[in-house]
């Protein structure tokens, strides 16, 4: 038993040395979530206050009241509009070029007709849905000022302040960095023997090849924490804020999940063997999971097909169970949830050992 533990420690130490000597193993794992988080935060986090043009051709007290209502139209993300242009010709030019998606014109006869004109650069129906519904919100606010007896909605939120979209994406991206980091580092380290023609040495060890699998998984699990640091820093820069208590609670889900990911990484590497096959599969599965399995938006808000698929897709449970803990929407992790994710880690490690052991029995090519 002690011999096996020594062997495991030796493989683990060797893997750490490989990672130290070949920093690209960590850098590439760091780069994927960092770039995706940064781009997604800039693109999807920038449209809270929609830049628009408002041209007041009436210039009456009534029209000024409307323009003021536009400025003051607010939602949970703050102001819905930001007026960047007020001159008619410039606004028309910007709209034609697609540099603005909404121009609101209050015509000279506004007081008589009670109608405003909106011109839209309708590049896609999603953007236009946002624009039109925001205009509706302005219209409700404007009419509400003169008719107090309108049907109203009271918004009751779980927490007084919403978690900003970029903060939610940032928290998820750190989870993604840990899962992807563990899986990819473990897989790449395991595949080093296949790529560098040292499989024979592993296969001929009297202790069994499973040690190589567990050693790679252990190294992947430990190094994932290092690989996730840049993503955590980017998440901080984009407004993700998590308290120490929330972090520790979420760790009860995320750490076993990271161990499970490391085990899965070894299983994938044992069957795919080469970096050129392992990496696309792991990276794209991770990115797809981030966007479609609760990293970007909660699973309960996804379309029916996505919800159905996520019932069977383990990473979605990691996002769904850890995000409420991370952002303070749950007091503690459920016992069943912790048991499930610890169970997944144990099973994944066992599978990693089994896959590595079986890999030791196959024919070895490439002049070994």
């Amino acid at each position: 038993m002690l011999t096996h533990l020594h062997a495991l420690a030796a493989v683990f130490a060797r893997n750490l040395r490989i990672a130290w000597r070949r920093p690209e193993l960590l850098v590439q794992t760091m780069a994927v979530p960092v770039v995706v988080l940064a781009l997604a935060s800039v693109i999807f986090g920038a449209n809270d206050a929609w830049p628009i043009a408002v041209v007041d051709e009436a210039e009456t007290a009534h029209s000024r009241q409307f323009v003021e209502t536009v400025t003051e139209t607010r939602g949970p993300t703050g102001s819905y509009f930001r007026i960047v242009e007020t001159e008619a010709d410039a606004a028309a030019e910007l709209l034609h070029a697609g540099r603005l998606q909404l121009v609101v014109t209050v015509p000279a006869d506004f007081s008589e007709t009670g109608a405003v004109e909106i011109a839209t650069y309708n590049i896609n129906s999603d953007a236009m849905k946002n624009v039109r519904l925001r205009v509706t919100t302005t219209a409700n606010a404007f009419d509400g000022a003169t008719n107090a007896h309108q049907v109203a909605a009271i918004i009751d939120r779980v927490k007084p302040v919403d978690v900003p979209r970029t903060a939610f994406m940032g928290g998820s991206a750190v989870i993604l960095a840990l899962l992807l980091g563990a899986a990819m580092i473990a897989a790449n380290l395991y595949a080093v023997d296949s790529e560098h023609r040292t499989e024979k040495e592993i296969a001929l060890t009297p202790l069994g090849s499973y040690v190589a699998g567990l050693g790679a998984a252990a190294a992947g699990f430990v190094l994932a924490a290092v690989a996730a640091i840049p993503t955590a820093l980017v998440a901080l820069a984009f407004g993700t804020r998590v308290g120490m208590q929330e972090l520790l609670l979420a760790a009860a889900i995320v750490l076993p999940a990271t161990a499970a990911a490391a085990g899965v990484g070894v299983v994938v590497a044992a069957y795919l063997r080469t970096h050129r096959m392992i990496q696309p599969a792991l990276i794209m599965a991770a990115l797809g999971s981030y966007f479609a399995s609760g990293g970007f938006i909660s699973v309960s808000a996804l379309p029916p097909l996505a919800r159905a698929i996520n019932t069977w897709w383990p990473p979605s449970y990691v996002f769904e169970w850890s995000n409420p803990l991370l952002h303070g929407f749950a007091d503690r992790p459920g016992l069943t949830e912790v048991a499930a994710v610890v169970g997944a880690a144990v099973v994944a490690m066992a599978l990693a050992a089994l896959a590595a052991q079986r890999a030791g029995h196959r024919t070895i090519n490439h002049g070994q």
């Binding site: 540099r99 978690v163 970096h275």
Partner: protein
């Protein structure tokens, strides 16, 4: 020419004998496209549970208004239940992030003009979801208010004119971007890995030193990769048709040309990466990042252009001027939606081909200059 064909034949034979890499090359971008596609409608349709505690014709009318709200992409609401107990169970069990309570007495308040109100409860773990629910309930309130006889006639009227003849459906907008992403990814990864593989399998020296020249090497690699990429693009198109109802039958030679240009651009980058990095380990993540970054930046350019006024988003948008791919994404969208073609497409096509030519030239030059072979080669 013969050398290029022989090399392409060799690569195809290797793929045929060990098809796992080919399968992964096809499945991976298709799987990503599929996963992204299934959430495209997330901002169109919001899930909600309704606790109708009033159970009057007015509350039924309010729910009817909500269930009928839609745009060209689909319904604005997916109402999971209107049963009060079930709605509360779903909300408390985190099966749904939004619950609308229509309180008892709502109908009477409407009839008597006593400030009727509904309560929208939200798990505000993501402000974007909260915003989506808020905007929708505002529309529902307005439409419901319009149906009431007590509503004064002098409410604000909104008259809309649009720059384009019709809205481009988001399924077409993002579906086209995903299609071009698949072409770009297939180009970079197939060609890049195929070239790097020659170094990994210690066969690069013979190829690089061959009297047939480096052009044959590049042409042979491109030819074999093109065949695999066509399959990838076809399967992606089928997946988009199935998940998004993407109208692939609207694509014509123009879109095919755009796909070819984007693939060539990707293949050129793949050639450069393959020659420079010589190993799949660093190449694949770099290739994936390039493809995903192009998808997010160039693929969304005409969308982010409208709100790129200040801050990081304006800088990001400005960067698209240096990568001429963005207008090509719009060419496909406008064609599929039967809209007049956008400006700048020809410049974008020529610019992309010019960049591709520059990348390939640099790669060939690197091949000529870097003649060191390691690991027993």
């Amino acid at each position: 020419m013969h050398a290029a064909l022989a090399l392409a034949k060799k690569d195809l034979l290797v793929s045929f004998r060990a098809p796992l890499f080919v399968i992964i090359s096809i499945v991976v971008p298709v799987a990503f496209t599929f996963l992204y596609a299934i959430v495209v409608h997330v901002s169109t349709t919001a899930t909600i549970a309704i606790a109708d505690e009033d159970q009057t014709p007015h509350s039924a009318d309010f729910i009817a208004v909500m269930s009928q709200m839609h745009n060209s992409d689909g319904d604005y609401y997916e109402i999971l239940t209107s049963d009060p107990d079930q709605a509360r169970d779903m909300y408390e069990g985190a099966d749904v992030g939004a619950m609308l309570v229509i309180p008892e007495g709502f109908g009477r308040s409407v009839d008597e003009g006593e400030d009727p109100a509904v309560t929208l409860s939200l798990v505000n773990i993501n402000a974007d979801g909260t915003k989506n629910q808020h905007l929708r309930i505002e529309e529902a309130l307005r439409q419901f208010q319009q149906t009431l006889p007590s509503t004064p006639p002098d409410r604000l009227a909104i008259l809309e004119s649009t720059e384009l003849e019709r809205d481009i459906p988001v399924s077409v907008y993002l579906g086209s971007a995903l299609l071009l992403f698949a072409a770009l990814y297939a180009g970079i990864v197939s060609v890049g890995v195929s070239i790097a593989r020659e170094w990994e399998e210690r066969t690069a020296k013979a190829l690089v030193l061959s009297p047939s020249g480096h052009a044959s090497l590049v042409a042979g690699k491109w030819a074999a990769a093109a065949i695999m990429s066509v399959v990838t693009i076809a399967v992606t198109l089928a997946a988009l048709g199935w998940v998004l109802g993407y109208p692939w039958h609207m694509l014509s030679w123009r879109s095919a040309g755009v796909l070819a240009i984007v693939w060539i651009y990707g293949a050129a980058l793949g050639t450069l990466l393959g020659v420079k990095l010589r190993r799949a380990l660093p190449l694949v993540p770099v290739a994936v990042l390039i493809a995903v970054a192009h998808f997010l930046v160039s693929g969304y350019e005409s969308y982010i252009r409208g709100f790129a006024h200040g801050g990081g988003v304006e800088l990001l948008w400005a960067s698209t001027h240096w990568i001429p791919l963005a207008p090509l994404f719009d060419v496909v969208r406008f064609e599929v939606t039967s809209l007049p073609q956008p400006e700048g497409a020809i410049v974008a096509a020529l610019g992309s081909l010019l960049l591709a030519a520059a990348a390939v030239s640099f790669a060939v030059w690197k091949l000529t200059k870097a003649l060191r072979f390691t690991q027993g080669q």
